[in-house]
Structures are given as C-alpha cells and as structure tokens.
C-alpha cells in the first residue's frame, strides 16, 4: 500500500514539485528581492503559475531543462 502511494507520487513527481515546492519558494524569493509579480498577481499566485506551468512541462516532457529527457 505504502509502496503504491510512493510509486504514484513519483509518477507525478514533477507536477507535485511544481505545485508544492516552487510556489512558496517563489513567493519567498520575490519577497526577499522586493519584486512585485506582473499582472497584479500575488507572490504565491505567481509561484503557482510558474511552478504549475514548469512542472506540467517537466511532467509531459520528462525534463525540466530540455525538450527530451
């Protein structure tokens, strides 16, 4: 059971990282740099936009940094 949960979690690893780590980390970085996100977004919303899109890309392509894994 636990193994199955772990395996499922890793199947969606990039998306989860994009939604669970990148948003709060981005918000903190923006705050530390005193930068306002564009389009009137809150720092956390900007983080969700960045993390969600990048995580989705990595989830689909299998890579955060290139077109192919």
């Amino acid at each position: 059971m636990l193994l199955q949960i772990l395996k499922t979690g890793f199947r969606f690893g990039p998306l989860l990282f994009g939604l669970l780590f990148i948003p709060p980390a981005t918000a903190q970085i923006l705050g530390a740099l005193d930068w306002a996100p564009p389009l009137g977004l809150s720092p956390l919303a900007a983080g969700f936009a960045l993390g969600g899109l990048w995580g989705l890309y990595a989830q689909i392509r299998g890579s955060w940094v290139s077109w192919t894994p």
Partner: protein
Amino acid sequence: MAALSELKSIAAEGNKLLAQREQNIARAHMGGVPWFAVAWGLGNFAIWLSLWPLVIFSIVPVWAAFPIATLNVILCYLPSHEAQHDIIGRKGTKWRWLNELVGHVSTIPLVLPYRAAKLTHLEHHKHTNDPERDPDYSMRANGPWHMIWVSLKNRQPGSNRGLRGYRDALIKIGRPDVVVDGLIYQFVFYGILCALAWAGFGIEALLLWWLPRHIGTAYIQFFLSWAPHHPAVETGRYRNTRYWRSAVGNIASMGMQYHIVHHLHPSIPLTRTPAAYRELRPILEARGCRLEDH
C-alpha cells in the same frame, strides 16, 4: 614448438611474479581503521546538519551557509565509499557497526541510500565500462562540458540513466527490495523541502539542500565516475581506468587521480592510494596500464 612452449612458461612465470609483487605492495597499504575517513564522514554530516538551525535562527546568513552546504554535499560521498568497500570494518569485526554507520549517515545530504550505493558501486567494479552491466556507464561523455550536461540530463524525471538508472541495475541483480530505499529517501527529501517551503523557509531549503545536492552530484559524478574512466571504452583489470593528472589537483579532484589503484585494490583506503601508486607504478607500467602524466 618446444621453444614456444618454453617462452610461454617463462611469460606465465613472469606474470605470476608480477602479480605476487603487486599483491605484496597492495597488502602493505591495507588494514587498520581509517579514522580520518570516519571523522570526515560523521563530522561533515554534523556540520551540514548544524547549518539548518544556524540559518533558521539567523545566526549564519543563508548566503554564507550555501557554499558550506555545497562543500558538505561534495565531500559526503567518499567516506560512504570507504564503507561500501568494508574498509572501516569488515563483517564480523568489532568496527563493523562503525562501517555501517558511516556508510548510512554520510550520504544523507546527497539523498543516496547506502545499500543502493553499495550494490551498484560493486557492480561498477565488476563490470567497469561494460555498456550493459556497468551502472555508471551512462556517465560517459565526450569532454568535461558535455559531462556536466550529461549529468544534468541524467537527473531529469524521465531519464533512466545515471542515478536514475540504479533502479534497473538493482532489479537486474535481483535486489528490487533496495529500490524501496531510494523511494523512501526521495519521499522524505521532497517532503522536507515542501514542508520547509510552506513554513517560510523555501530559500533555506533551496540553498542548504536542493541546489547543493545538484552541484554536489555533478561534482562527484565528474570526478568519480567520468574523469577516471574517460573515454570509458576499454574493459579489463588493467585498462578500465587510469592514473591521470587533474587540472585542479588531487585534493580538489577528491583523490581520484589514483583511481587505478582503487580499482585494482579496492580495500586500500583513499588516503593511502597515492603512496601505493608510487610503489606500484613500475608494475602498472609493465602491465600496460593507462598512466597519463599530462
């Protein structure tokens, strides 16, 4: 015909003598507990761990802790590597617990489980440069910059090479149970990162663990997997690795200039490989080893 047979006999005798000399030199450099490696492994981990409260309670600024954490991750593999070869304490000896402790603890910053590291590393020794059976073969690259790119690509979620190929290697040798160690380590690692980020310590998580781990992984793979075996085309005891001169020196390349000594005699502690190499050199020359002084 008789002359040929005599020549073969002389060659075999010479070969035997050379092997005996090699063994005698190697044995002289083995034995004892490498306390330096023990202090290095446990001390390095303690320093890395201490960075967390120091940074979280604003005693040390995160920008100052980041290079220290990166150095900690770079340095964390080799003590475990000594343990993987049972150098600190063989099975059945009184220091076995210490061997296993160092093996398990020192690679925590790298998020590399000891059992997986050990089993795959021993496979690397058995099948060095074999495209099908060497778990580290996928670190092969055309040059230093290409290697850094290969290392980064191998760490991508869709990759089954590099550390991500260890899963297949473990299954291939009949140890799928050890794959679970890797899953648990990853789960805990990412769980801690996310928890820290939501608690307001995302930058700290990034600069004390996530980024140091990426830099450290590339550094370790560069000097331990790629450079000593490059171009990784030959197999065989005396040709699958080399002696080489690193542009950054022996310490910054983590003692890997003498990697050939390690492959020939894995029980020699890291700090004794330079001395062993100097004594073994005439034998290695006679064996046709790759001794690249330039």
